[in-house]
Symmetry: C2
Subunit: 163 residues, 2 copies
Amino acid sequence: MSVTDELVAANGSYAASFSGGGLPGPPSRHVAVVACMDARLDVYRVLGLGDGEAHVIRNGGGVVTDDVLRSLTISQRKLGTTEVVLVHHTKCGMASFDDDEFVAELESDVGHRPGWAPGAFADTEQDVRDSLAAVRACAFLPHTDAVRGFVYDVDSGALTEVA
Amino acid sequence: MSVTDELVAANGSYAASFSGGGLPGPPSRHVAVVACMDARLDVYRVLGLGDGEAHVIRNGGGVVTDDVLRSLTISQRKLGTTEVVLVHHTKCGMASFDDDEFVAELESDVGHRPGWAPGAFADTEQDVRDSLAAVRACAFLPHTDAVRGFVYDVDSGALTEVA
């Protein structure tokens, strides 16, 4: 039995006791969260979010890529969100390697370089600041006045805001 | 008090009772989930996932973009995941608009077109199939034999696999 099979079985139990249907698509709290994909960061629990309340966008690092700006643009213009919360975290895997070395490794293994930059970073707080700046500078977003960034401590469970 | 302030306050309560520190970065169940950002899709609960068990990558639609392939490549090569689970869902906001019209709207409002395609789709199951194919075709991923795709029903809580 694969892990995927186990997740499907777990969903069977979830669905059997599910009573949360009928919610609308637009997030009821009008907020979009952009967070790292890290397994220790259960965004709904960490931020006290319930079903239907917030968009949750996640990728390696929680960095603000074009795909994140695409998702935020849809979130704000089509589904009514107005606030953005960025969540990076301590002990991030993105701080454990170097972009140039990783690209060289990929090129050596596969025969060509990826069309994307891996996005590794050494300074988590600076990466939050860069991400805040990228969201605020996006011309397609109608709401950039309520954009805030945080570092989540995976060992304490606490958020610290990055100014 | 903004919604963001409310989320920060909720995190204070979460951190006060937090006892899950010390987990390693690599996901203990070696799986990465790629899902839509939809607010009704609480991935950890829907799949029965606990802290530290799986990477969770999310964007508008759960579509497999370059940024998702970047994140999966890091997930597999740097953090040891070997299975991929794609989760799209019923009543998706991405099925509520048309790419060409949305791009025209953005160009009219902002003065230029975005560098990304919005990624709207009309057929959710076909979009899952396209996403499965995109993951399986990615040369940078060492593990593409356990890639499966599902549609989550936001009204029943149940997953249905797309073959």
